[in-house]
Amino acid sequence: MNIDTAGLGTLGVILAMALVTLATRWGGVFVMSFVPISYRVKQFINAMSGSVLVAILAPMALNGDNGARLALLTTAITMLVVKKPLPAIAAGVLAAAMFRQL
């Protein structure tokens, strides 16, 4: 279905996007309200919460340029050493910026 973006069409499309996004923000909470929080469920959720991040990051590392990879590597090492997120992020971004100036 094609929507004309002249006139109110654009607003309609944006509202539809907003509703779909809202459904994703609310949907997980809504579904969980029917699931009893057992120990197994907690274990699943706990394992899943780190996995969300890893699953976002993996393709970023694989498909990124070497600047992107260096940034991630620098962040990981800095975080292991310093254990503070902000210096780790700053070091990673700086590494990408410097690498890309070369």
């Binding site: 973006t5 944006i14 923000r25 959720i45 899943m48 969300v52 992107a68 990981a76 910026a97």
Partner: protein, 238 residues
């Protein structure tokens, strides 16, 4: 312990303000993404007011950029909404992972704080909970910081888009990636988590390659979750 536990879901003005302040350093970078989005959206011939409306109501950068790819005089609505859903489906997981704490809140509060859930503030909040600290101030306050800076950045991009010529050469495209990685590395580390992460990464990459676009986050996260079910931690609670 039970006294501490009931405090975890607390939510008050002080915690929200602290959460706001804690996310400001990240939100500053979100302005740069916002500028990039505002600029790209003007180039896709969206009007200034509609671009601001989109950032305000949708507040999900990656899916908004994807929408621009499909934008034109005619927009394929179904394709667009499927794309938006797939990219934002990770919010479903975020809501689910926060549920053990969210269910202490009234439904009105529960769904209100989720309005501003996004990657950075969710990651901070879930990490706080796993350390035994209250996390909803970070979720709501941090979310408000990210949201307001995102809308502000979008607005800047529409009118002063030329200011940041090349965000990639400054490494700005890596801010979110580095942030999320710092959250992973800062979390609990043991053999069990390492295996979970490895399976999650491998499944995500396989899905990225062989399954439909944008399915990799869901596939990777669910695979990691299933590993967690098969290798459960020794229960500390009983």
């Amino acid at each position: 312990m039970s006294g501490v536990k009931t405090e975890l879901h607390q939510l008050n003005t002080r915690l929200v303000w602290q959460g706001f302040k804690q996310l400001v350093p990240i939100a500053v970078f979100v302005i740069a993404f916002g500028i990039a989005f505002g600029l790209a959206a003007t180039q896709a011939e969206l009007s200034g007011s509609m671009i601001v409306v989109m950032s305000t109501l949708v507040f999900a950068g990656a899916s908004q950029f994807a929408a621009l790819e499909l934008w034109g005089p005619q927009v394929p609505l179904f394709t667009l909404l499927i794309t938006v859903f797939a990219i934002n489906a990770r919010h479903l997981l975020m809501g689910a992972t926060l549920y053990p704490w969210l269910h202490h809140l009234s439904p009105a509060k529960r769904y209100s704080v989720m309005l501003v859930a996004s990657d950075a503030n969710w990651a901070m909040s879930i990490q706080a909970f796993s350390r035994g600290q209250p996390g909803f101030g970070l979720l709501l306050g941090g979310g408000l910081a990210l949201w307001s800076f995102w809308v502000f950045g979008t607005w800047l991009g529409i009118y002063f888009g030329g200011a940041i010529q090349d965000p990639m050469s400054l490494g700005l495209d890596m801010v979110m990636g580095c942030f999320l990685l710092a959250m992973v590395v800062g979390g609990e580390k043991n053999l069990r988590m390492l295996l979970i992460w490895t399976i999650a990464a491998a499944s995500s990459l396989m899905a990225y390659r062989y399954l439909p676009d944008n399915s990799h986050v869901l596939v990777g996260a669910l695979a990691g979750g299933v590993v967690g079910l098969f290798w459960m931690e020794q229960s500390h609670e009983h």
